[in-house]
């Protein structure tokens, strides 16, 4: 027993209650998705998989899923590519305005989504860009960039600069050095960033809601379905699937990030 626990006896109870409060609602989601009844209330009616089975037959859902995959994929590539170069610059070079630009890049983490969303909508419309997948991608790249930058920064932080010098010294060109040394070494970091930013985009609602026009992403679609009580069990099933895959992706991302940290001796 740690000394902290001895001094504050209720600490364990508090922590347990806190975690239950935090995660119990999330666990109810999959629980009711297997419940054979349309009303979300105890007692449970019986086990069924029909809500999951019905998901595949809903064309608008499939369309929304496709939209989310496109937006998430493109956002992941954009933000990771930008994050890669930004992180390298932040870690490697000392230039004027480095701290300011780093702060600006990380800012989306703390600006309320609703502010970003409404101001982006105004901006896009004023420059003639109609709400569409493109505008969602732009918005999502903006919010996913801080995640990409911080993951890539931790990759480059441990990157020994003399590795690149050694490659150059051994006769390799600047581009060849990047391809044969820099890229393979930060590769796990890149994968982690791709998965992370994809997940950020895939789960994002507020921006997508404002910027989607008539091409909803999955979270926007789910929101629109919640209004119909009969569709609720379907939505629970869909939500459970999203939850499962999000956690899976983040776990894979984290394992890659750790591998990135470990591979640099």
């Amino acid at each position: 027993m740690s000394s902290l626990q001895r001094f504050i006896p209720g600490l364990l109870t508090y922590a347990t209650l806190y975690l239950v409060f935090l995660y119990l609602p999330v666990l109810l989601l999959p629980l009711f998705s297997f419940n054979d009844g349309t009303i979300v209330a105890f007692p449970l009616q019986g086990f069924t998989l029909k809500w999951y089975g019905q998901l595949g037959q809903q064309d608008t859902l499939i369309k929304a899923l496709g939209n989310s995959l496109i937006v998430g994929g493109v956002t992941a590539v954009f933000s990771t590519a930008m994050g890669l170069f930004a992180a390298r610059a932040f870690v490697r070079y000392r230039f004027k305005g480095r701290e300011l630009s780093e702060g600006l890049v990380m800012l989306p983490l703390v600006i309320p989504g609703i502010i970003v969303a409404s101001s982006m909508l105004v901006l896009f419309i004023s420059i003639g860009l109609r709400p569409s997948l493109t505008t969602i991608i732009l918005g999502h790249t903006f919010v996913a960039l801080p995640f990409a930058v911080s993951i890539m920064k931790s990759s480059f932080d441990q990157f020994d600069q003399s590795l690149e010098e050694a490659a150059f010294d051994l006769g390799e060109s600047v581009i060849g050095t990047f391809r044969r040394v820099t890229l393979p070494i930060v590769f796990p970091g890149i994968v982690a960033s791709l998965l992370m930013t994809f997940t950020v985009s895939f789960d994002e609602f507020v921006l997508a809601f404002f910027l989607s026009g008539n091409e909803p992403t999955l979270p926007v679609y789910i929101w629109s379905q919640i209004r119909f009580p009969a569709k609720l069990p379907n939505t629970l099933a869909l939500g459970s699937l999203l939850l499962f895959f999000s956690i899976l992706l983040l776990m894979i991302a984290e394992s890659f990030r750790r591998r990135a940290a470990k591979s640099q001796i």
Binding site: D160, E165, A166, F168, D169, L170, G171, S173, I185, I265
Partner: protein
């Protein structure tokens, strides 16, 4: 000559200066290096030795001056096109490649056939005694093995000059001493010029044919290790290499290549002029190596100069014992190093002892530096 260098100049450095902002890292560096020699740049950290090495390698451009390697000017020749290769302080072993691919890294570009690459890699690994470890992953290597891989990776390209940046500093003491001799042997057997940067005087002395001592961006003295030890050109060099007792003296007469001087403590002495010293004056600085002083309880008879003093401290080093002896008229106690012959410590703190020294052991260090004048 003992060393295996030839008279052919392989690197000519003229007037090289490098500034970082207002800080002058390297100031007017002039240095010729010869084919096949083992040269060390020695100096305290921040003296510009690593910058000098990186300028030779091509990682940094000098603000002024020129570098010629093997007769060709290196102006506008970038590091990847120079006939030099470097062993980095961190060794910079590529973590995603195995030993064989690390060593083959530089060969893959040059359009050499696969089988020849394999041959050269195994030959290089044999040279550093890592034969057959091609498939070993970089993460499984010990510190010493990493250094050998770094050496093999650089030497497999058959550079004209191998540059080594503090190559032994990451190793523990025992391994470091083994590698000093091994690197020396390797350099002799392949005959490539080695230029090593180090802050460790013993490393520099045991390994090098010649040593260049740097302070504050300036090359103070270039000499063979034994000459550097016997005839340092200044107080800085003298105190950086080995231990040294400094003794101010006044010049009585200068005739031919001898100086008649008078010192506090040891009295009058006749010493040889040190040809490496640039300036003499009425006030001189002299130096005596701690191991060249005799210490005894009775007044010794067969020494050119003697002094009586009191032991103020004793330090036991294992292979030797250092006695610190206070003399009248000298602020700093004189250090005397005595080999540990019989596991005895003959003198204790407070003992009155005699010191003896021969004229030949007293080194002329020229006019006394300003900061030591009264």
């Amino acid at each position: 000559m003992m060393e295996n260098r030839s008279d052919k100049k392989i690197i000519e450095i003229t007037g090289v200066t490098k500034r970082f902002g207002s800080f002058v890292a390297v100031c007017d560096l002039n240095l010729d290096l010869y084919q096949g020699e083992f040269f060390s740049l020695l100096g305290p950290s921040g003296c510009g030795k690593t910058t000098a090495l990186r300028i030779i390698a091509g990682f940094q451009d000098p603000d002024k001056g020129e570098i010629v390697i093997d007769g060709k000017s290196m102006r506008d020749v970038s590091a990847n096109k120079r006939p030099t290769n470097m062993v980095f302080q961190s060794y910079a072993i590529f973590p995603h490649l195995n030993v064989g691919n690390n060593v083959a890294f530089g060969l893959r570009k040059s359009g050499i056939s696969r089988s020849e690459i394999d041959d050269r890699v195994s030959e290089a690994l044999e040279m550093v005694e890592l034969d057959g470890l091609e498939k070993r992953s970089a993460e499984e290597l010990s510190g010493g093995q990493r250094q050998r891989v770094a050496l093999a990776r650089a030497l497999v390209l058959r550079p004209k000059v191998l540059l080594l940046d503090e190559p032994l500093s990451a190793l523990d003491k025992k391994l470091r001493e083994t590698m000093q001799l091994e690197l020396r042997r390797l350099q002799r057997s392949i005959g490539i010029t080695f230029v090593m940067v180090t802050h460790d005087q013993y490393e520099a002395m045991t390994m090098s044919d010649r040593i260049g001592v740097m302070f504050d961006g300036k090359l103070e003295q270039i000499d063979r290790p034994e000459d550097l030890y016997a005839r340092p050109c200044s107080k800085d060099v003298a105190s950086f290499i080995g231990g040294m007792n400094f003794l101010p003296a006044s010049l009585k007469e200068e005739s031919g290549n001898v100086l008649d001087i008078s010192t506090p403590g040891f009295g009058d002495m006749r010493i040889e002029i040190n040809s490496n010293v640039s300036k003499h004056g009425p006030k001189l600085l002299t130096g005596i190596r701690p191991e060249q002083l005799e210490i005894s309880a009775k007044k010794p008879s067969d020494y050119d100069a003697m002094a009586q003093g009191k032991v103020v401290d004793v330090a036991f080093y294992g292979e030797s014992i250092h006695y610190f002896v206070g003399l009248d008229g000298i602020d700093e106690p004189i250090t005397v190093a005595v080999p540990n012959y019989f596991h005895t410590m003959d003198y204790q703190r407070g003992d009155t002892v005699w010191l003896g020294v021969q004229n030949a052991s007293v080194i002329d260090l020229g006019e006394i530096p300003d900061n030591m004048k009264d």
